[in-house]
Every structure is written in C-alpha cells, then in structure tokens.
Amino acid sequence: MPHSESAPESEDSPIPMVDAVAETTSAETPAVQQPADEDVDMTEADSGSSGTMEAKTQENQADSVTEPATSGPTESKPATGVKLEELFDEMDSDEDEEFPTTKKVAEVKREAASSPDLIDSDMEIDLHEASDPEIMRTFYQRLFPWRYLFQWLNHSPTPTNDFGHREFAFTLQNDAYLRYQSFTTSDLLRKDVLRLMPSRFEIGPVYSANPRDRKTLRNSSAFRPLSKELCFDIDLTDYDDIRTCCDKANICQKCWQFITMAIKVVDTALRDDFGFKHILWVYSGRRGAHAWVCDKSARSLDDQKRRAIAGYLEVIRGGAQSGKKVNLRRPLHPHLVRSLDILKGHFQSDVLEAQDPWRTEEQQEKLLALLPSDQKQLVTALRNKWTSSPDRSSVSKWADIDTVARTSSSGKIDTKSLLDAKQDIVLEYTYPRLDIEVSKKLNHLLKSPFVVHPGTGRVCVPIDVKRNLEGFDPLGVPTVQSLIREIDEWKKPETTEGGEGGEGEGQEQEKHVVDWEKTSLKGYIEYFRGFVLGLMKDEREGMKVKREREEGSGEGMEF
C-alpha cells in the first residue's frame, strides 16, 4: 500500500511532505531534532523533586541487608549456603542481570557514593536531577522491565523480527536524536541504553528490513515500515483554553480529570466500536497519556486506516480563531451519544464545579458566543442577568440558560437548537482532544513506557484503566529518585518465626525478590506483565489458527 510507505519515500518526491519535518524521515545522520509531540517540554525548567524525605543513613541499609544473616532462624545458615546461591545465580544469570538482588545494590551504592560521608551521599539522591546519568543508570540497570518490554514488542518469548526490525530512537544527553537503532534481544537494547544513557528513548515501527541495514538496501521500497501499535496521545496543553487551574506543562489533580475522561471515551470506542482488546494506557511522565493499541489487527493498519480511526474519534476541530469548535450534525452518531453519556457527569463535577470556566465577565462571553447565534434575545437576557449579579458560579450560569430560556418569551426559543448547542458545549469542554498526528502515521515514534521523564523524574507507568483509572494520581507516580530510595529502604519481610519450614522459605524468597518488587513500581510492572502475557496468549492462538488453516489448505492443494 503506498500509504504505508509514504514517509521513507517522501525523500524522493518532489513535493514537500509535511510530516518530513515532524518526524525527520531524512535523518540520515543522527541529528538534533525536536520530537514533535512536546513543544515546550524541554524549555521548562525542572520543577524540582521534593527534597524533604527523611535521610536514612547508609549504615541502616547495610544493617537491613545483613540483618537476615544475623537474626533468628537464618542465623544458623552455613557459609556454604551463599555459594550455593551464587551457583544458582549463574544458572539463572539472565534473570539476575535483569533484576539483581539486594546485595548487589548495596555494593553498587557504596561504589557510587562519591562522598565518604554516608548521610550526604543519601541526600544527594534526592537533590539530584532526575536526568543525572548516575541515577538513570541505576534505574535502567536495576528497575526497568526489559524482559517484559521485549516480550511486549516481540509478541513471543523467542526473538523474532517483530523486535529485531523495530526502530528505537534515543534522545541523548546532549539532545542529539539518534534514529534507526535496532536490537535483536532485550539484552542488547539494555546494554546500549546503559552505554549511551539516553535521556529517553522512543519506539517506532517494525520495518521490512533491519533498520541498521537500511543504507545497504538498493531501493527505498525494500525498507518500509510494516507495522506499529496504533497510538494515541492526549496532552493537557491542548486543554489550555478550557482549563483554569494550570497552563503549559503544569498539571494538578483537577485538570488531570480531563485526561481521565478522555481515556474513558477513547478506550470505550476502541473496544466496543473497533473491537480492539489489548490497549495499554501509559502516563507520559508530565502532563498527558499515551495509548498503545497492540492487537495484531491494529498493528498492521496502514496510514489511511489510521487516519480513519483518528477522524472517527476527532470531534473538536478548528484552531484558536475558529470560534465554536464542535459542530456536529444531528442526530448524533451512536459513538457520540455514548460519549456524551460518559462525559455528562464529568462536565458537571470536573468542569463546572472544579474548573469554573465562566466565572469572570470575560470568560462568560466565551459561553455566550457558543449559544445559537440566532437567539440574540436569550443571549442579551443572560448577559443582563449575569452583569447584575457578578461572580456567579459556572454551575449557576449553566443552569440559568435553561431557566431564562423557559421564562423569556417562551414561544421564540427553539428548544431543539438550544439543546443541540448545549450538547456541543458539553463536548467542547469534555471530549478528548487528541494529538491526531501521532495516530495518523504508521512511522511516528512514541516514548517507550517505563522511561523516566527527564524533566520530572517520573516514570512513565501504565495506567490500569479497568481497575484504577479514577484513582490514578499523576503527581503520585514514583519518581526515579524515590524508587532508588525505596530499594535502599527495603527490608526483607520478617519470615514467619515458624521453625524449620521457615528457613527454606526464607532462602527461596530472598533469591526471588528482584529490585522492582521492593519498590512502588511493583504494581505497575505486574500490571504490565499481565498485559503482555494476555497479548502473547492471543498472538499464540492466532498463530495456531493460521498454521492449522495453512496445513489444512496445504493438503487440499496437493498435486
């Protein structure tokens, strides 16, 4: 399909392609480029991570590590036991490299601590910028779920081209942007990340050939993107004209509700209308959320189909100057009726009450401009009413529209058109505002889940939309600094003082507690693991069906 390869070929086309800049298809050489989705991000100074955590001396941690050895049932543990463990470690080296156990952390921490003063060294963790390479290194070395990331992109436990031909792009510390990286296994990816220490890395499409070999291929059609998850990007900056609590890169619990309702609407539509099942929502680290639709059918969509989905979901159109941004035809499409149902409650509580968007005189004009233009009388009546009682809340003003419409010269008001306009207003203030370019293109890159946002230090954790969408707190997301402290503060759970049985269990447990399990990242990684397992299961079944069909048809075709 020509659509699917528009980007790589655009280099040859005499007509400029807009996306060429948005995505630098032409980055032949690693080049400085600004990722398209975040305009202001890097310009904002780090808002600062809290430095108020109580300092814990390293001696304490050392104690916590050695504690088990000296206490209770484990006391009698023979010295050879350790060696035995190491033996196991080697056999299981894969896992241990990925998720090293406590002891190693303690060692590394001591090595890393530059100052001999132990208290200071701990304080340092808090005061460090999130982008501090040392902190980042520890995170990627000890906490990042490499294996699940690999399985997620690879769709199978053994390496395939789904992972091997996948493009990764690194933003290096000096802000250079390194595209077309690829790796056969998660281990190689991990090594390169640790070597280059990118401030973040992004995931692109699977190509028809290894991205690293792209220059050796004779013609451009031999190197084209084949598949990528269908992605969505919702960003609070797009809500700046309707949110009153924050602007630019700042967010709070109040305006995060816009993201919550957006996720609900988009997620429902993708599942019910398009029949997608594997949708991963990820906090983008600062002020938005990404969706990764991972179903096989979604991954192989070409640009035209992606555009179709984007268009289907897009309701708010028009730039800053276009006035009313929602102009829907009636009757509303079933998708919009359903979305309106979802959004109504949010409009009342999260917009009218929390945002109070029309309180001032200037703001109320915005609301009046959205009412049907042929009902001048209503507009004047409302304006008079509100001028006479200034500082009226948006809730009351919203209710006033109906009251005034009912009382004043009732014959003239077209209730149908007023209702429609009110619906449009509800949608304009609640309906998801998607950064649609991300969804339209097969070869758009998007920041990987679990990467640390360099500005905030927050980890881009997945959001469990089924169980805890409402409760997700973007400001409470673990930061890389807090996580590293958590590892250090972690104490092995007291083994039940139950005698002989306890000893064996204790050893077992100690061996299997990997670093992320000691931190608040645990829940997120477990959720991700569950998601990946579900995806791989479906993938395997799909393969089985396909193979059976092929075998079946193979017999029929015999000649």
Binding site: M1, P2, H3, E5, S6, S10, E11, D12, S13, P14, I15, P16, M17, V18, A20, V21, T25, S26, E28, A31, V32, Q33, Q34, A36, M42, T43, D175, T237, D238, D240, D241, D272, D273, G275, S297, L301, Q304, K305, R307, A308, I309, A310, G311, Y312, G318, G319, A320, Q321, S322, G323, K324, R329, P331, L332, H333, P334, V337, R433, D435, I436
Partner: protein
C-alpha cells in the same frame, strides 16, 4: 551483458520466445469485450494499437484528468464539477451507456481502457505521481458511477463480486436506534421514513475507512454497518485501493519495461505535463530579484499588505506570542523562503521573533527544522531538491487543518466569520462593508479563493486599475491567485509599478 545483447536482437520476437512470458503472449489473441460502461481496470489491454493512438489517447485522458484536478483546486462541488466536465468528457473521452445503442461503444470503451493503462505507466514512477493519479482517476470513476444509469450501475456492481454480508432483520431490530441515527446522517428530514426496508450490509470496517472517518456508518466490534446508499462509496474506495495496489506493482515492474525508445519518451513527456501548481513554485521563480527581502523588513512588507490573510495572521500571531506551533512555522517559513528570504536571513528572523527563549533552546529545537525546510540538512534528496516548496492554497486548504492553539491554515476557511472580520479589519485594513459581505458570501459557498482574491483586488484596486489602463499587465497576469506566494509577488509588483516597470513586463 551478454544476455542482454542476445535479447536485443529482436525485441519484437522475444516476447514470444521467452517461456516465462508465454502467459502474457497468449493473451494477445484474446479479445477483451466490455460488457459494462464502467471498468475496474483489472485486466491490462493486450491488443495492438498504433503509436499515434498510444500518444493521442493518453493525451486526451490526461486533459480530462488535469481539468478534474483543477476542479478540485477550485473547490467545486461534485455537481458543479460534473457539469463543468460534461462537455469535455463528451469531446475527449466519451462513454455511452449500453442502452444508448451507439455504434461506438466498443471503440469508446477500448480507448478508455487503453488510455488508463498508458497513463498508469506514465504515473507509476514516483509516490507523489501515483497518489495524484489515484486521486484523479478515482474522481473520474466516481463521477461516472454517479452519472450511470441505475440499472447498469447495479449490474456493474454485481459483476464485481464484492462479498458483503446483509444484516438480518433480527439484528436490524436489535440495533434499530443506532442504525436510525446513522442512516439519517446527512439526509433531509423525513426522507428516511422507510427505515425498516433499508438494506444494511455488514463488512469489516477496514473495507470502508472513508465512511468510518466521517462517521457515516455504525460500528460494532470491528464491523461497519453500511446503509445501502453508501455502497457506492464502498465501490469507489474499492476502486481506489485496487488502483493503488496495482500502481505499486506497476512501479516495481517499470525498470524492467522492455521498451525500445519509442514509448519511453512519450511516457516521460506525459508525466512531466502533469505537475502540480505548487511544484512549479520551486526555488526563486516567485522571488523578485530587485526586492530587498531580509529579516528586518518583513514587518514592513506585512504593513504594506503584501501578505495574504493566512500569512499576515501567522505574522501577527508570531509577534503577539513570540512563538508559533509546528505547522505554523512550517507554513510561514516556506512562504518566506518563496518570497526570496534566504536561509541566513530566515534563521535570523526566527531567532529574533522567538525572543522569549534562549539561544541554546533555539539552536536545539528550531534551527534544524528551518534548515531542513531549506534543504540545508536532511537526506540526500531533501538536500538535492533544495528542501520543500512553498505551500499552495490547495495544500493549505486541504491538509492539516489547525487544531487548538494553532495559527496556520487559511483564515477564510478555518476562522469563523467574526474572527475573520476582526482579522481583515484590524490586521489588513479592510473595512469596506461591501467587501466584507462579499467575503462572507464566498465563505458560505466555500469559495475561499474568491474571498482571498476579493480582498486582494480591494486592497490593490488603484494599482490594478492603473495597470490595466497602462496595459502593463495582461488579463492573464491578473487571473485568480491560487498560491500565497503569487499573492505576494503580484502585490509587490503592483505597488512598485512605477519603480520597476521592466520587471513587471517580463514575468507573469
């Protein structure tokens, strides 16, 4: 080397000799018949035609396609385009219905069939040409499909073997309200009373992406429920997707086209004559040699009303916010490049304009993009081609409509009337009621070019009058503007007529 020499001996005969090509050779003797007026062009022609026919048929079809594309540039509605095209079609590419009992049926259909395939060869070479060819061919197909006699159309559609599942009555009842809401989309009130009788078919949504995009179908679990009257759209999208696929294959086969030098020049010539208006605006052709275009006098140029509304809005926004979003920067940079601002000056201009950020931020985040636009960095072809060419009105009108907080696009299209009036009166000094009303009417009729030209004529009426009187500019030089850079150029030339008469005469 040796082998190709051998095969050069007798190219005519080779086809027959090569066993791998036997299957094609055989078809040469099979006559194609055309049971339907319309054609999905799935089988290539196999009979012999003369070289003159080859060229003439291709040129005739090209003429039609070029005109169709022009219609879409001018934003003609389908009905307007159809009436505009009818005489041309009758003249160059007539296609009569079966019922018309014309004796020319076979000849007409053959010409249609052959010319289509000749142009495929000519337009398969680059992505851009393929996309445009698919677009105009699809327009032509749609126009013909709509004009077709309903019985013949049905027969044609049935012959295509598109497997569509019909929705059962039971399911229809179950989804009654959803389907009703979908079916009445775009219909006039009352015209859908026969709801129950309407047939619905159910296909994977992947087959009707366009209908999905416009929410004209009901979607459930990946299936699209398509009302009967949208089936035409499905046929059309099927046509365009098949053509796209076929062109792709043609493109791959092109290098192996065993051709002597009779056809290749014709094909090359054909595709050259099919260039877009904005492609012709590369480099400095729109720049005025004697004009002083530099970063510091951009403001003056804006103040002198040399910039069309879209660019003057971008400029005002830039001055107000000291920032523009991505597409705004792109649209404006390309325009500035088109009027002759060189890269150094352009970088200087943006650096000075983004006065709230540090040098470091500018260098990191914006410098590269500006350079990329000028072809100073990037891939080989970008550098060789000198970057992108400035956007035409067509592109600005149809691609990337502005989202919240974005200032690019065409004000006549993307602004509401009030904001447009504010822009025109405050930004461009248009206060004449008549002009504003005219703009309003144009906007309502979606004639955005007309609105823009109206404003241009109003702002330059003195000069235009003078130019006409003195005979400096011919009528051709004053036809409708369809490119922002043309707007600038014409404006600049008109305002500086006295100073640079020589310049004006030579260029158009």
């Amino acid at each position: 080397m040796l082998r190709s020499n051998v095969s050069r001996i007798d190219p005519k005969r080779r086809n027959v000799l090569d066993h791998r090509k036997k299957q094609f050779a055989e078809a040469a003797y099979k006559d194609t018949d055309y049971p339907h007026r319309l054609n999905f062009y799935s089988t290539p022609p196999t009979a012999d035609i003369t070289i003159e026919q080859f060229e003439q048929w291709a040129i005739d079809r090209l003429r039609i396609l070029a005109e169709l594309e022009a219609c879409s540039f001018r934003n003609k509605s389908p009905a307007e385009a159809a009436s505009h095209m009818k005489p041309l079609l009758d003249r160059y590419l007539p296609l009569d219905t079966n019922s018309s009992s014309s004796s020319q049926l076979f000849a007409q259909r053959q010409k249609d069939h052959y010319s289509h395939f000749i142009l495929r060869l000519a337009f398969a070479s680059t992505e851009d040409l393929r996309r445009r060819f698919t677009r105009v061919e699809t327009m032509l197909f749609r126009m013909r499909l709509n004009a077709d006699d309903s019985r013949e159309r049905q027969a044609f559609i049935n012959s295509l073997n598109l497997d569509w599942e019909t929705v059962s009555d039971e399911e229809k009842r179950e989804l009654a309200s959803e389907l009703a809401a979908t079916a009445s989309f775009g219909q006039k009130k009352g015209s859908y009373e026969s709801q129950e009788e309407q047939t619905w078919c159910k296909v994977s949504w992947l087959r009707v992406p366009e209908l999905v995009e416009q929410r004209r179908v009901y979607l459930r679990q990946g299936y699209a429920y398509v009302p009967a009257r949208e089936q035409q759209a499905m046929v059309v999208s099927e046509f365009s997707s098949r053509l796209e696929r076929q062109l792709e294959l043609t493109a791959r086969a092109l290098p192996r086209l065993d051709e002597d030098d009779r056809l290749t020049p014709i094909l090359a010539h054909l595709s050259k004559n099919f260039i877009t208006p904005d492609a012709s605006y590369v480099g400095t052709s729109s720049a005025i040699s004697s004009a002083d275009i530099s970063a510091r006098n951009i403001d003056t140029l804006v103040a002198n009303h040399h910039f069309p509304a879209c660019m003057s809005h971008l400029h005002r926004t830039l001055r107000r916010d000291a920032h523009l979003k991505h597409y705004g920067r792109l649209q404006y940079t390309l325009f500035l490049k088109g009027i002759g601002l060189n890269l150094e000056e352009c970088l200087l201009f943006w650096r000075q304009s983004f006065n709230k950020i540090t040098d470091d931020t500018f260098n990191k985040e914006y410098r590269y993009n500006v350079r990329h636009t000028y072809g100073d960095v990037g891939g080989d072809s970008n550098r060789r081609g000198g970057g992108y060419s400035p956007y035409s009105c067509q592109k600005i009108l149809t691609e990337h409509p502005p989202g919240p907080g974005e200032a690019h696009g065409c004000p006549y299209r993307h602004f509401n009337m009030e904001n447009l009036q504010t822009l025109l009166s405050q930004g461009m000094g248009v206060t004449d009621r008549g002009v504003l009303n005219g703009v309003k009417e144009d906007k309502e009729k979606q004639k955005f070019h007309m609105a823009c030209n109206r404003v241009f004529e109003h702002l330059h009426k003195e000069e235009i009058k003078k130019a006409k009187e003195d005979g400096i500019m011919t009528a051709a030089q004053l036809e409708t503007i369809v490119h922002p850079n043309e707007y600038f150029k014409r404006s600049y030339l008109l305002k500086n007529m006295g100073k640079m008469q020589g310049d004006v005469k030579m260029e158009g």
